[in-house]
Every structure is written in C-alpha cells, then in structure tokens.
C-alpha cells in the first residue's frame, strides 16, 4: 500500500500515519520528494484499509499494490497448476479443453427439450443448457417452469448423454438444481448477491458465474473469490456481454478482451455466451468463432428449433442447422490452431 500525500501536508500528518501503520503491525517508509511525498507500507497489509488512510489529513490518495483476490489468482492456486480443469463426469472444462453448451433459453415442454437436446448432441455439444427459473425484468413475463423444467432437463440429459446446466436464482432454486443438474449457472444480476455467493461456496457442484452487466473484471473475480473462499473451488467464469452506450444493433457488447486478460489473472476456466452477448441470431456464430480464436475455454449458446415460438429470447437463438454449421467451423479452427478437443470432449 502506498499513501500519496498532498503537497500541503505537514510533519504532524506524517507522524499520525506512521504511528497508525505501526499500530497495525506494519512498517512505514517515508519518501520526501521535491514535488511529492509518499509513504510505503511494508509488511502484511491485507488487513489495512485504503479507505481508512484516505481519510487522514494531508493524504491525497492511497493505492493498494497487491491484488485483492487471492484464491482466484494464478499465484493463489494451491496445487501448482496454472489452470483449473473441472471434470464433470468425464468432460473437462478449462486447461485447453473446449466445451460447448447449447439449448433453449427457457425449458418449455418435454417434447421440445428432448428434440433440441438430440439435435445439439448430434452437432457435438457436451452440455444441454436451459432455464427453469428465468430472471425477467418484468413481473408479468413468463418466469419458467420451475422444478418440472429441471426434471425435463435431467431426463433429456439422460436420454441423449448430455450433461446439464441450469440457473439458480435463490436458495430454493439452488436446492433443486443440486438435485437435477450437473452445473449451476448464476446469472449476471446475481453476480453481487453476496448472501447467495456464500451459499454457493458450500455446495459441491461446479458454478458457472456470469459477469454482471457492468461489473469490472476485479469485481467479477472478487465474486468468484466469495465462492472459492467458501470452500467450492469449481468456478467457471462466463462473459455474457456488458452494457454500453449503443444498444441499437446489439443488446450488449460482448467483451472478448476479458479472455486473454483473465488468462493472465486467474486459473479459472472462461466460457463465452455470444447469445446474450449480442442478442441477435446472425451475430452469434461469428462471435462464437472469435471466442475460440482468442482463447476461451468454451461457449454457451441458445439453440431453438422454433425460435418464433420461444417463450424467452427467441431472436437470439440459433436454429439447429446454424448450430451444426458453427460446430463444424469450430472444429476446423481448433484443428488449425492445434488445440483440438481432447478425447473426453469429443462428441
């Protein structure tokens, strides 16, 4: 931690700060410059508060030098591996494996669920995605089938050999998801629902944590840190588009910069959701290919066989034939770049 003093500070200000630092068990190193004076704090600074020192007289601002996330960081990985690889019943996520999750936005009926599941399986997906609890901005919109939807997913997974992923929005939904699906998705709007994150730290299933609509990378990693520090180390990060000033032609801005950025900061796998990230069907396949090209560990995309009748987000769902074409292109790029799927993830 480095405390930058105002040019108007006095000796007394410095003394108070030095005393407080020593009181907290650290050492203060003062540098009197011609233009600027700084105090470097040495020692175990994790318990020191930037904000406390910013309130002292004579202080201009304070910077924390070490990163606030520990368990998420590459340095913080316990087993010496650079990347976390999450094994879900034999399918690996992270560490160079590329995973494809596909299915409808919302689970609507048994027949449709099965039909879509069969088609995405045939195209090479490893996971069936689908929502039974839907976070809707309007209380008047379709809120999902609930437990019945999860049952359809489980059954469709069993019949097709697909793994399953679905969203939990609260404790009760989490309890149900634990029973029926393989990976639990946490939506963008709950990324900083800290009470819920604490609960997720206590369960023994992988968590796909979507980035909040305007969450910084650091906030996102701190939310993952909540789960890891709670005891659950199986966290998958999922970029789903951020909010910007221009929504005319895409619902969000899919921020692919985060892929190589996260690869430097964390050992956790990074998955991309080009469906919510763009909001328009014709943008999904190009952005899915771009996700792979910049190093993502997988994609989660919406596929629907009759999007005009979808109960949620129809305009962004790929048709089964589009998804098949996309999966072929993905395999071509993987082959070209030499990071073909491992045995376990090949359909």
């Amino acid at each position: 931690m480095i405390i930058h003093m105002k040019s108007s500070h006095n000796k007394n200000d410095l003394d108070k700060i030095k005393n407080r630092i020593e009181e907290l068990g650290c050492n203060a190193h003062i540098i009197l410059g011609s233009e600027i004076t700084t105090v470097s704090v040495l020692g175990e600074t994790t318990k020191l508060s930037v904000k406390e020192f910013e309130t002292y007289d004579g202080v201009e601002f304070v910077t924390r030098v070490s990163k606030p996330f520990k368990l998420c960081s590459i340095e913080g990985k316990q087993d010496g591996q650079k990347q976390t690889v999450i094994d879900v019943k034999g399918v690996k996520i992270g560490g160079g494996h590329f995973v494809s999750m596909a299915g409808p936005c919302a689970i609507e009926s048994w027949e449709r669920t099965l039909e879509i599941a069969k088609s995405v399986k045939a195209s090479g997906a490893q996971f069936l995605r689908g929502g039974a609890f839907k976070p809707r901005s309007s209380p008047y919109s379709f809120q999902g089938l609930g437990e019945e939807g999860l049952q359809f997913m489980q059954k469709a997974g069993a019949e097709t050999g697909l793994l399953t992923i679905s969203e939990a929005m609260d404790s009760e939904g989490l309890r149900l998801c634990m029973e029926y699906v393989d990976v639990i998705q946490i939506g963008a709007r709950n990324m900083q629902n800290f009470s819920f994150l604490k609960e997720l730290g206590k369960v023994d299933k992988p968590i796909l944590l979507k980035r909040g609509m305007s969450a910084t990378i650091e906030e996102w990693l701190m939310s993952a840190e909540y789960i890891l520090s709670g005891g659950n180390s199986k966290v998958i990060l999922c970029e789903r588009g951020i909010r910007s000033f221009d929504k005319q032609y895409s619902r969000n801005v899919l921020d692919l910069n985060v892929v190589p950025i996260l690869k430097e900061l964390t050992h956790l796998p990074v998955i991309i959701d080009p469906s919510h990230g763009t909001g328009h069907r014709h943008l999904v396949a190009p952005m899915a290919k771009a996700s792979l090209a910049c190093g993502a560990d997988g994609i989660i995309v919406e596929v629907h066989n009759e999007p005009q009748k979808a109960m949620s987000d129809g305009p962004q769902a790929l048709l089964p034939e589009d998804f098949e074409k996309l999966m072929k292109d993905i395999r071509k790029i993987q082959k070209a770049l030499g990071n073909e799927e491992e045995e376990s993830n090949v359909a």
Copy 2:
C-alpha cells in the same frame, strides 16, 4: 405494439403475422408505405411478446408503445393522486415533503451510533441510517454487526426520536429488519434480485429501492413494479450514482436527471444518495443541495464523527458540523423555492 417490416418482406410474411395477432385476440392494422410497411397491433397487447414477433420472417424490429410498468406509472395510481405520500409514524415521504436520512455507513458500536444519532437529530434529520449487513465486494472485508447492529439502531432511534432505515440483503436479514427498523433499504446490487423483490412485495414496511449501478430507468421501475405487484405499495426510489467511464475524481456519476424524469413517469417518491453517488466528502453537500433544487423528495447521507476510523466508506462521510451546515442551506433553499417542509417533517 408496432411491427416494422423489412423492405424485403413478402405477402406471406404479413399473413402469418396477421394470423398470429388475431390468434392472440388482437387486431392487426397493416400500412403499406412506399418505403416501409408496418403492422400496428390494436387491443390488449400486454401479453404479446416483442421478441416473438421479432423472430418472424420479414420483420425488421418491433416497438412496444405502451409502457411496461403499470402500477408504478402515474396513470396506474389507484387513488387518483399524482404522488404517493408514505407516512412513517408521522413523517411524510413524497408529495413535496423533503426528508433527510443521515448516519454512519456501517453501525459500529452502541456509543458511536448514539453519538451520531444525537448529532444528526440536532441538525434536523428525521431518519437515522446505518448498515448492519454490508454488501462488500470482498469476502475478506467487514460484513457488518448483524442483529446487534439493528438493536443499536432501534435503541438509538428510540432515544433520539429518529426513525430508522437499514439494508436487508436476504430473507433472513429482511426478517430481522422487519423487527427492528422503520424502512428497509435494498441495495443497488440487489435491484434485480427478482426472488428477493417478490418477498419484499409481501411485507408491510416501506422499501427504499436503490437503483442498480447500470440499471436503466425502465428496469428500475420494473423492479419497483415487482414489489408493487406483490402487494406492497410503499416503495421509495433512491438514486445512488451510476457507473461511468471516469472514476478518477468521483466513484460514480450521480444522475440527477432522473429526478425530473421520474416525476413525469411515476408517483413514487425519489430520494438521492449523494454519498455513494460521489464517493468523496467534499462533493456531498453541493450535490445534496442540487438534489433539492431539481425536485427530489429527500436525501440519504453518510455522517460519521470520526471518519478516519469508520469501518466502511469513511472518505465519503460528512462530519457532523458539515451536515449541520448542509441542513441549514437546505432549509434556506426550501424557503426560497416555497416548498418548505411541512410541520410533520420539521425537527
């Protein structure tokens, strides 16, 4: 709802859309223009989905004309009044009354709570604010005193004659807040925690609903609509700053435009939080005065008698003497503009 057709649409596309509209119990009115063709949907359109129609062949885009929020809207107010006035044990919020809520960011100890309560009461505040459950981006930060903090608030309120407001982050926190405080605050990060909003619709206490960091005005009102449609009509909207591209000199951008905007859209009271909206002590008083000048129904500000020792957000807390000065200025502006506090809200 108006459906805008692509220039490339054909007769068949129009027929399908017309049939579907009629199937849903509405009427389709087609206008064939030289450049553009549109289909106006007449009738009870609330159940129609913009997204469904956007997936039809030949459709360019669809606009919904009527507002998605009903109970929040001025037209939606049941009793014919233009503004909701919430009466909390005699203190009125909304409808031209101006309310001041003040206190520490986090409740820290009984002595400090009482001391701050006395000082803000003396300066003219009606409410004591303070957090017992703190939403912290880091799992390693101070998370609040919990129930004990609420007990301190209740006791300090009783001793000073102040009403109380505190944040609930989950069901358990809500249960406790219902027991100890007068108004329940919902933080920005929970604005779209829809499961929680549904619970809030069932309680019988006023809810102060903060705007999400990058929530649109419509999303914010839709979240209020969740509470109102659940049965609780006592919602107070609170602007607390939005996220922008420039955080160097203020933590957020306090969006005061929303005050006159909301006054046109909704009957709910609008309160401003200049402490979180700016993040810096020296910006709080100017922005509090601006809030009043543009028509807000009140302010909620952080006051701390020893900000350098505050366990949370010290740098943005006003000192008691600054708050006193602010309250004097506020009374002057109120007097000048002729909207002085009503009897009930005068300290």
Copy 3:
C-alpha cells in the same frame, strides 16, 4: 512517478531502471517490501514517460503522482487568485458571478433572432447564444446560416445590449466568429481536435470549451491546457451531458458532480448546459436550478419562441415564459444562498 515491480522481477531489472532514471536526471529510490517492490522517482519527472517504464522487464505498472495539467490547476494560477474571472465587456464569468446565456440552438432568421434576444434579455440573461455553424451527425441536415447568422447575432446583441456566443467548428469559422461574437464556443465533438485547440491558443477571445461526450475530467482539462499553453488564458469549461447506457428518457446524463470536482482542481469557470445535457424541455429548468445549487458559474440554455418550427433541437428549447420563470427561481436561490449576482451581471 512510482514504478511497481512484478513479484517475479530480478536485480537486473531494477538496475536497468535505476540507470535509466539517473540518465534522465532524476533519482531512483528503491523499496524492497516483503510482498512488493517499488521504485520512487524523485526530481523533475514531467519529461519521464509512464509508458516507457511500463515496457521494462519486471514492471507491473507505473503511476504518475503529479497531475498532468499545470496551467489549469489551482496551483498553476500565476496571479495567486484561486479563480479566474473573465470580464467580457463588463460582465464577469467565474469567481462567484453567475452568468446566463440563452437563445436558439441555431440562428434561423433576423426576425426570430431579434425576438428571442429581446425576450431573454428581458428575463435577465447576459448573453445571446445561437449557432451559425451547426455540427450535425448527418450530412443531409441543416448546417447553419454561416456568416449571415453571425451578422444577425451581432446586430441582435447590439440592439438588445446582450453579449454574444457562437460555435466555431474550424479555422474559417473561427476567423468569422472572432469578427462577430464575444465568446467562442467549441463543441463536444471538437474537444480533442488538437490542431484546432492550438489555433484557439493564439486568439484573444474567451473560449467556452464543451466537454466531449465521453471525455474524462482529466482529458477535458488537458484540452483546456492546450489552449492555455498556447497563450489564451480565457477558457470557460462547459459540461453538456455525457453518454450513458440509458438514453430512453434523457439524451445524455448531465454530470453535475463535475462542478464541485472542478472547483477543487482548476481555477477556470464552469458553466452548465442543461439543454443538451438532458435533451428534453421539461428537464431543463430543474437541472438549471441544480447547477446553481451545486456551485456552477452559469448556465447556457436554449430558448425558442416557436420550438416546433426550430430548425435544430426544438424539443429541448425552453419557451420564453419558461425561461422567465427559471430566471426568477435562480434569483431566489442565489439570494437564499447569499451568492447573488454582482452588480455587473444584473440585467
């Protein structure tokens, strides 16, 4: 300047950096911490480049401690005054004086210009505003009357006793504005037109420099610094709304936080444009009053006597009677806050 080293740096990295710092005439002060190592650069660091040091092996990141703007800063004011007061033919801008500039978005005809000028003068404005050169996002939109528009402004100013302000978009426009108007306005889209800023540094008229749509406060001040360092010290800063994620109910977000922020950073006057900052007539007066309440040095507002026929931006123009009412409210708030207009600025 402080250089933060990566945890993986080595002695050799530090030596190279130290040598380079000394080569540039400064001193390096190395602090080896348990967690982190930093190098503080002491001496005349203005010529050192943050970016250069960020490219060295072993460097995590570099922070510049002193502010990059000098002449704009309060410390940089030559005459020892805390605030610049610009005197335009007896009307003072800055230093507690509050100035009102009003008129049509675009100058349209002699009759209309005169009529509007008379009305805003009667309501108490000191300046007539109006555009002769209009920056339009479409090449097909009305681009302004050009020189003839400026002649109308000059004549209307002379007949009514109003000073005049109009926008220059390029060298030729600047030449004409120098001839006809009292203050030259630079639009948001030209805030970082550096070639033009250099020209503005050479003229002898006050420049009202609008903030770019997504310019940071620092970038804005650096653009002012271009003008000041070129030799023209008469710069007025004008906030006109920033771009945000929500444009549904206001065109921009008027960022009033900048008023108290700039008062701490710079001695230059700060004016608010609530017309462009909101884009809607009914939002203008509330935000103009808020501007005054938070400490702005003036407002620039659009007034039109027949807004539905305005050739540009009609929906945001106040009617003359609305402006009259606003000016009355402004005088009341000024009186209440004790910062009434000085003699010179009273109409």
Copy 4:
C-alpha cells in the same frame, strides 16, 4: 416515420400534425387504438424532422423507420455489388480479402522505420503503418515528426514494397499525406470533425475512418456518409475499442460485435485495431485472431523492435517475432475457414 401520441392528446393535436405532414408533401395515416394512437407518415420522409414533430402538443415520441445513412448502406451501393473492394496498387481491401497493416505507433527515425518495415514485410504484412502527426491528449507530449516522418514512410514503403498508411489531423496534414502515403487514416477524436470530413469527401485516396471512442454504429456510418456524399467512395471502417467503465486491465473494450453487425448494414470494409483496442501487448494477438474469426477484412497493429524506447504507446506494440507468429496463426485460421488470401494480398 411514426408519430406516437400521448394518451392525453386531443383531436386538435392530430389535425395540426396531419396538416403539417400534408404541407410537407406526405400522407398521414392515423390509427386510433384503444390504448394508443399513432400517425404513420407515408411518402418521401427524408426531409421530415423527427425533432419537429416531437415538439407538437400531444406527441409522446417519434420514430424514424428508414435508416439515416444511404450511400453506406448495402441497399445504397450503386453497382449492385454487396461489398466494396478497394484496390490500392493491387492490394485489395474488403470483399473477403484480408489485409494486414503493421508498424510503429509513431515514426521516430529513418533507421527504425526501415528496420520495422523490413520485418513486418517479411512476416507478411501488406501495409506499413506509422504516425507522423500524433493526436496527444497532452500538449507537452511528443507530437510527431511531421513531414519528415511521412518522407521516411514513403521511402521505407518503396524499399520494402509495402503500401503505407498514416494519420492526418487537419487540412495541412491531409495535404502532406496525399503527397506521401497510400491510405489516409482519420483518428477516433476526429470522427465527428464534420468540417474535416467534408474535405475528405473531395480527395481521391482511400480513407480509413476510425470509430470515435463512444460513437454509436449509426454515428460512425453517418460520418462515413459525409465522406461518401462528398464524392469519395473509398472508405474503410476501423474499430479501435470503445470506452467502458473498466480500464484497469485494458485501455478500451474492443467491440468485435461490430464486425458481423456492419456486414449486415454496409458494403464498406471493416478493419480492426487490436493495439489501441486493448492497450496491452499480450492482448493483441488473441484479439487479432478473433477479428479474423468473426469476419473482419483486416487488422492494423503496432509493431516495434524496441518498445521500451518507443516515443508513443510502447506497451501495446508487438515485438517483430510476436507479429511473425501472429501472421502464421492468421494464415492457419484463414486456411481452415476457407477464406485464404487472394493472390494479390499474399506477401
């Protein structure tokens, strides 16, 4: 154009609007719905102003249905081709050809320019990029070598067989660029310098038009429309990252969504600048590959052989060996996706 009436409108309001529409040579088609009334304007509406109608009594808001850009749009292409292919001395830009432009941020010396040119040529680039006029946010920063820099570029191009591209910031710079380089770059800060755009419409060289930092896609296309409507049809669009709320780990957010979006909207080529779009060397290659994968027509990247001594933007420059590796990966992806470079663009 569709005019949406307020629920409070009256017959008189509608009559006035209808008369005005007919006065302007169009037809009004009124639809009285149970909830909402709209007026559709039929005929040649390009000259009608949304803003005019928004000022009429009884009007809620107005939407323009047809796109404001004409010459840029796919429909607006004169020769019946879907895509513009710009031929620069045999190198094709657009229409499935992929172009690589590489070189230093700023031209610094003859030796360095030549050395970098040789290396990027060897790696397969077709264009040498480099700035002789640098837009710098600080007046105290290095502003570029000017004409001498352009001479170095021209000479290096001639010696290596590379085409050249450099930025013009004003009329004088444009005059010099016309003399020395093959393609003229317009920076983000000048994207809405409308006076300059008009000049660019009159020259006979390709213009690479960078997107403004917070420009919407429509604003960007309207700026291209300025150039096309002025008579110069050779415009290349260049995405260079947009401004967001998170600058901690990347300078900007590279918005790759625009690639497939623009491919639907315009026939103009789209190039990506991952150097400015990210600001960090280790992010450049992943994002360059992603650009290709989502369908971009090329990249423009910064390459420097001694980035720690670069006079501008060193931290984002690739080393020659990194660039060579990137070009190899690009050729592999091209091959895999079957859109290999045409003869003309192969080095």
